[in-house]
Subunit: 121 residues, 2 copies
DNA sequence: CGGAATCCGCAAAGATACTG
DNA sequence: CAGTATCTTTGCGGATTCCG
């Protein structure tokens, strides 16, 4: 095993810790088309709680992937958008998405086969 | 937001649940060059416990990404390798790794800036 | 509207010991 | 060597409440 693989590994682990959580990818994909405000984002991502959306956005913001813009109106309005850095992540994530789509049935079959093999009774 | 994005999203979430955990990527990368036996794998992946390595390998095996070969010798020997499906995942993962390598300093700087901004005291 | 603060349950992960 | 079994700990994520 080469040194490069090890480095890739560590770096990949690092970025997986950025977007490997339950909601980050959903947020990134939803911001792919442009700025979206908090409440719209919450509606768009089914099942997410207010707290997790806030936490996820804070995380992405701290990593420089998402920007936050506050409009001091009443009621207040906050827009979120991908930064330039965040948009560059869109491509690799899409690659993964394509892989996932393409091999989903294969994985499904493998899982069923594994189930049968481990619990034949 | 298009329907396609939503689907990609779900599919990506699915595959992130395969390899988004703490150790799977490490294992996949380490198997990139060919079959590796359990104890060598454990040595190669610093910090992993015997239990987590076992669980991770079982998970990857059940998804059809990794194959397990037992040699009935004494002492026993077990080799793990990427399946054909597992090898196809190597490319997208490498893409992500390259992205991670390239943007690591940028992310690092963003984090430090965010820290300073949120706790200026 | 867009949060922050608090409490809590559960599952993932770690440590340790034992086994074919 | 390559696991399994058991216990403990950690921390993510959900629900709820309160605030500017």
């Amino acid at each position: 095993m080469t040194k490069r693989f090890v480095d890739d590994c560590v770096a990949t682990r690092e970025i997986l810790s950025l977007i490997g959580d339950k909601w980050s990818v959903m947020v990134i994909v939803n911001l792919g088309d442009g700025a979206v405000r908090f409440s719209d984002l919450k509606r768009a991502i089914e099942g997410i709680s207010q707290r997790m959306l806030t936490l996820t956005l804070r995380g992405l913001e701290s990593d420089g992937l998402v920007s936050r813009t506050v409009f001091p109106t009443t009621p207040p309005r906050v827009d979120y958008a991908l930064t330039k850095l965040g948009r560059t992540l869109l491509d690799p994530v899409t690659e993964l998405a394509i892989w996932a789509q393409r091999h989903r049935p294969e994985i499904q079959r493998a899982r069923e086969a594994f189930q049968r093999a481990s619990a034949p009774k």
